[in-house]
């Protein structure tokens, strides 16, 4: 039986939730409504001339073949970024969990990259992999002889921004995986070991299912990260190029709205982006969450 506390009068309850409601209204709903209104208007950046145009902005973006292509790029980019950062985060987490010495130091060092802003992460990787001045790029082309050129080759560029975006998120995932792993009872793993299960089998049969709530949570968070927070990486590394190969939806919003000052188009795009991410998240909760085991 769950204990419930009762408020004697409803007034107090409403009073207590008022601040939260006000904050949500002011910082979430108000801007969202503004965005919605803006997406139906054509207006100049200074806000002195604007006209209501119904769905013209939406019509324009959906008849633009490049916008549709950009949706595809975004989905691929986000899935790849989330997968890489989850896989590497899980790998490092399980390794660090088994470390015998300097566990705390290892953990601290692995958490550090999270403090790096996406734009800086982009610059760091650019210094490694830019064909003109990148150290690793020099090694790749001069020593190994790989034709590496993200400035010209769309696939190379996409690979570069995925690596730079995923790298930064690994630390975040690592922290959660560490915590998740520590919550798994040793007795289960030991029992499996006594029954003759090898390390890999123990991982897949015991650890992985027990981690599924963490994995599910992180998948949702990573996809949201890849959708929204990576424009800094793309801005510093490729600016959406070459030829639009790394032009993700959120970067287009930034490019059109903040650099191009085309507010109507930008607002319409961000609305589409919002609908898209809500759909993805709902789908995840409906279909993927069923496979998650919350109780041990």
């Amino acid at each position: 039986m769950i204990k419930r506390s009762h408020f004697s009068s409803k007034g107090l309850a409403y009073l207590l939730i008022t601040p939260q409601v006000l904050v949500t209204l002011a910082f979430f709903y108000w801007p969202a409504v503004q965005g919605l209104v803006q997406s139906l208007m054509l207006s100049d950046p200074f806000g002195l001339k604007s006209q209501f145009v119904w769905f013209e902005n939406f019509q324009r973006i959906f008849t633009d073949p490049l916008y549709l292509k950009s949706i595809g790029i975004t989905l691929f980019f986000s899935l790849a970024t989330a997968f890489i950062s989850l896989a590497v985060g899980l790998f490092l987490g399980s390794m660090a969990n088994r470390a015998l010495r300097a566990k705390a130091l290892l953990r601290t060092l692995l958490i550090w990259p999270y403090a790096v802003a996406p734009a800086i992460s982009g610059i760091l990787w650019l210094f490694l992999l830019h064909p003109s001045y990148g150290v690793v790029a020099y090694f790749l082309s001069e020593v190994i002889g790989i034709d590496w050129n993200p400035v010209l080759n769309g696939n190379d560029a996409l690979f570069l921004v995925i690596i730079a975006s995923a790298w930064k998120q690994i630390s975040y995932n690592f922290v959660f995986f560490m915590a998740g792993l520590q919550a798994i009872p040793h007795s289960l793993v030991e029992a499996a070991a006594i029954d003759g299960a090898g390390p890999l089998r123990r991982f897949w049969v015991i650890t992985f299912p027990l981690l599924s709530p963490t994995i599910f949570f992180l998948t949702v968070m990573n996809i949201i990260y890849a959708f929204f927070e990576t424009f800094g990486v793309i801005h510093t590394v490729t600016q959406g190029g070459p030829g639009g190969a790394t032009n993700t939806l959120v970067y287009k919003v930034y490019q059109d709205g903040f650099i191009g000052l085309n507010l109507g188009a930008s607002a319409a795009q961000s609305l589409v982006l919002m609908v898209l991410i809500i759909t993805i998240t709902v789908l995840q909760f409906r279909y993927v969450e069923k496979k998650v085991q919350y109780t041990m």
Binding site: D44, S132, Y133, G154
Partner: protein
Amino acid sequence: MKIRGAATLFSLMAAIVLFAGQAMAEPITIEWWHAMRGARGETLDKMVKAFNDSQQQYKVVAVNKGDYGEVVNAGVAAYRAKKHPHILQAFEVGTMTMMRSGAIYPVYKLMADEGYKIDWSGYLQAVLSYYVDEKDNLLSMPFNSSTAVMYYNVDLFKKAGLEMPSKTTPLTWDQMDEITKKLVAAGAKKGMVTTWQSWIQIENYSAIHDIPFATKANGYEGLDTEMAINNPKVIKHLERLKSWMADNRFSYEGREYQGANSTFVAGDAAILMESVSGIGNVQKNAKFAWDIAPLPVEADMKQPQNSIIGGASLWVMLGHPKEEYKGVAAFLNFLAQPDMQKLWHKETGYFPITLKAYEELKQEGFFDKIPYQEVGIKQLNRTKPTKNSRGIRLGYFVQIRNILDEEMELIWNGKKTPAQAIADATARSNEKLREFEKTNK
């Protein structure tokens, strides 16, 4: 008691501050938001300090608000909140947005209202013409203006047994064909690289050859302008560059300037097309002899036009009290004085905006000492600007440049032919132009 003691001290301090304020007739503050960082920012601060020290009435406060895009953004946001500065620096591609905004006080009007009789013919016309309205009235004060020139690696030219190009007569593109061949044959890793591909290889290329970039006099004479780049000359030029990529005579190093600049500075490319404002960087980092020549022209172009400028200008924003605009006018007038312009040119490489400052620099022998600093000015001043060469005035120009970048990249990586890419760029840009036209009707 402790608390009462602190309170007394506090009120005493407040009284002193108030009293001091009344006694010294606070100067009027003029705010200026700009995008100049590093060495340029330091020179700018010197100029502001010189103005503040020259009189007591006004105090200019210069604030760096980030890069060009961020400064315009900050200005827009501040204007909506009615907390905008008096002066906003905006890049050349934002000219249309600013002039159409209804939020600006045209500079010609400000100066006339405040009683300054300025002889605008004493300014560099190719600079001024970028910022005038259809009646030739100046809308914003040119501040940092540059143009594109051709840097070359003297050591690599010598190694290839080539003659050094002239500082006044441009090479022809046919000569470039030969030169880049020889350079690569003599061991240069790359022949030629370019920064700002749209600005240099399309916008400046069109201006120099006196062909329109857009209809309606490059957009100066109406919002119903359309792109005019889909012409045989531009397409042929891009085809040529594409064909040079096969044997490394041309190499694409990325958007903006960083990639191409570092390739040249590392000695990997023999020729770099870049803004004159890049001189500082090359000076500092190049470990070889180098020099500057004008941008190449087609052989049939006997009288090449002036190249066009890049950079930014200062916009005066509406919504401040009358007496503050007096200070703004005084400051703009101060900036245009020869001393300030000479300082600006010497330390940053950006052009002096008045002919007087240019003449004085000549008389001081500045260009005899550093002849390459004059190549850009001469290229800019070699003819009277025509409708095709005075500048480009398009709405959503930032996005149009972005479209051009994208489509040109598709040429360089072989996904589209130049003709196809230019046709697509034209169609996509025209859509942006129509959108801007509709917004600003």
